[in-house]
Amino acid sequence: MSTQNVLFDAPGPKARARHLVLTVVGGLIVAGIAAAVLWKFNEQGQLEGPMWRSLFTADVWTQYLLPGLWATIKAAAISIVGAMIFGIIFGTGRLSHVAPIRWFCGVVVEFFRAVPVLLMMYFLFSWFAVQAFFDAQYYPIAATVIALTLYNGSVIAELVRSGVFGLPKGQREAGLSVGLTRSQSLRSIELPQALTAMLPALVSQLVVVLKDSALGSALPYIELLSQVKNVGTAYGNVIPAYILGAALFILLNYALTFIAGRIERRINKRGKTAGGTVAAPLPGTTAEDPTT
């Protein structure tokens, strides 16, 4: 049910008066909270002009924020590509008609979905340091990217599975009846449609990856959040720096959400896939998934 205009009638004079009161009260509460925050900022001297102006000097951007942004985007981009490959392999693995492959992929996917990403990052980082497979400067990015790939790959594996399940049975039956084997039909008929259907969910997963890459700052992988912290320390403006950092993350994620919405509408309008888009597959696998 659409929430608007269903839960309440068109307001009459009494209701309009009540709504006016609520509007004023609500507005006052919101304004009050904002005022309290600003007052507290002012009390601790966080509103002074130089603090904020120093955020918009060239140095802050060229030395801290832009490299940080690039590191975040780099980690997110590598992770999402890795996660897609992992997801397609293990997602189709879970649909395999060979039982041991199905079980193995099921255990792997469920395991990586249950383990916190940060726990994996901590482990991988320490483990690389012990094993010393490669140059030490790559430990942080490798730990960040691999942990993100494993977790999000498992989520995408579930998306693939629900995407294939969401297709009408006739697609697969048609494949089999023209003489394709089961895996041929999966590969060349069901999977392509499932992938198109899950495209919006995939872009939304990118938001999750982008946000999760901030976990890397704990290793430390020097990404946007670490650089924001550095700006705060270097210029003595911690609070303005974090607010700017949050704004950058929000802007980036908002753009991605917007793109996801556009793709979804476009696919639905084109109507080429038999199943439509995968809106909300299994619980805990959508962009609604509150992973960090």
Partner: protein, 225 residues
């Protein structure tokens, strides 16, 4: 392995994870319910405020929120949640601010879960409530919300599972919970698979029953239509 279990308080660390999860879940449920009511209310200011909250918080990394709570709010704005004189004030402040940060972050997802629950309530229910003359407040508290909560159990369950896993982020602001202890062990001893599997298993033990319980409840409590 035996030595590690003897020298480090693994159970205590997982107890902290449970403690954080429990209180943050309550906080997130309270804030999230208020937000959900705001977002379906007829007052446009409240709707806008609720939507703005959800959009801002949902697109901000949890790490940033927690670090901001600790570095910005606690140390710069000097808002203490524990008596600064007490000997455990640093530890208590970190735990309490972690709970606040986790609650604030997950409230946005609780709100969205509840809204999806509201969407499972058929149109006729709201129309019937209006037809017998219930006001918005009455129809919401007597008719819509009780059904919405029951319809939202599955998504609320995934929020709770994610919250359990996300308590690990509190280690970044110095709360001694499971992942923080694992990091400590790996720094002091060695990074072995066994230690990682021990902690991973701990999280599987915490999240698996939660998932099964919520799946069972969502079927058991589903509104029969």
């Amino acid at each position: 392995m035996g030595e590690i279990l003897r020298d480090y308080d693994v159970l205590g660390a997982f107890w902290m994870t449970i403690y954080l999860t429990f209180f943050s879940a309550i906080g997130a449920l309270v804030i999230g319910t208020i937000l959900a009511v705001m977002r379906v209310s007829p007052v446009s200011v409240l709707r806008a405020a609720g939507t703005a909250y959800v959009n801002v918080i949902r697109n901000t990394p949890l790490t940033l929120i927690l670090v901001f709570c600790s570095l910005g709010v606690l140390y710069i704005l000097e808002i203490n949640l524990a008596d600064p004189q007490s000997p455990t004030s640093i530890r208590d402040n970190a735990i309490r601010w972690a709970i606040v940060g986790l609650s604030v972050y997950h409230a946005a997802f609780v709100c969205e879960a509840l809204r999806s629950g509201v969407n499972t309530v058929p149109l006729g229910q709201a129309e019937a409530a209006r037809a017998i003359g219930l006001t918005f407040g009455q129809s919401l508290t007597q008719v819509i919300m009780p059904q919405a909560f029951r319809g939202a159990i599955a998504p609320l369950g995934s929020v709770l599972i994610a919250l359990t896993k996300n308590t690990t982020v509190a280690s970044i602001i110095g709360v001694a919970e499971a992942s923080g202890l694992m990091k400590e062990i790996m720094e002091n001893e060695t990074a072995s698979f066994a230690v990682f599997l021990l902690f991973a298993l701990g999280f599987v033990i915490l999240t698996l029953p939660t998932g099964m319980l919520f799946t069972w409840m969502s079927q058991r409590l589903a509104v029969k239509r």
